[in-house]
Amino acid sequence: MTSRTAAYRSLPANERQEFRLPTLLKDHLAKAAARRGQTVAEYLTVAVAERVAHDLAETAEWHLSVPEQELLLRALAARTRPSARARSAAKKADSMFGPLPQVPRRR
């Protein structure tokens, strides 16, 4: 069980989910859960948590079309200066929240 799966399972099981599945799959599900010494609910929760954690991690990659990729690369390559509005918002951030703490660097 991954740490993310464990985190899901540490939460209270306070929701219900109803769905239909083939009779054969339901029978095999019960057998598989019994072989692990788990209830069907426990077995399904672990399986779903693992799949959900994996799929959410996948979304950390943006899939862009080729024209979108090109716009991204051109934006990153451009040597643009911050606009007056961006500089003003940054000054406001300093004034509202204080200066940004710097991370100590290795010497």
Partner: protein
């Protein structure tokens, strides 16, 4: 606009922060902070940063998480990075942003975006990363982010990026 409000530094969400009464006017943004933010942060899906009022109530927050973009190697060559060992570009995603409704109209949202950009620029100096990305939900927000130097990746998408090198 009413009088100035005292806000805390922007820090990671912690147990001492009061999130239950946060009301940004957007139920999804509020429910995330109230019900899921602490858990998602603990699971490492995203980092939640907040600023709070003197009573500890959250006045605004944003989430950031790593994101990568896969690019065609041929495109990399067009900008002179043809020797990149793998065609992935890393950055950060500004996933959610909310400001308490009672504090709207004071420029706190724009200041939070800039603070998010400054934090990710600082972290990028240590771990890499070249942009802060957003996926605004409305056309109005696209225009709002554009005024803060975010570049839209085409007319058919709302995805936008702010190159970290352009962050003040």
């Amino acid at each position: 606009m009413s009088s100035a409000v005292e806000l805390s530094p922007v820090v990671p969400l912690g147990r001492a922060h009061v999130v239950g009464d946060f009301d940004s006017g957007d139920p999804d943004i509020d429910a995330f902070l109230r019900d899921r933010a602490a858990t998602e942060q603990a699971m490492g899906f995203s980092q939640i940063y907040v600023t709070s009022d003197p009573a500890g109530s959250v006045a605004g927050y944003f989430t950031v998480s790593p994101v990568t973009v896969r690019v065609e190697p041929a495109l990399l060559r067009t900008i002179g990075v043809g020797a990149a060992p793998y065609p992935l570009i890393g950055g950060f995603l500004l996933g959610r942003l909310g400001v308490a409704r009672r504090l709207h109209g004071r420029g706190i949202g724009a200041a939070l975006v800039m603070r998010a950009a400054q934090i990710t620029k600082r972290e990028a100096a240590l771990v890499g990363g070249s942009f802060l990305a957003v996926g605004p939900g409305t056309g109005g927000l696209v225009a709002w982010y554009a005024r803060l130097d975010f570049v839209r990746l085409g007319e058919k998408t709302r995805r936008m990026v702010l190159p970290l090198r352009a962050v003040p």
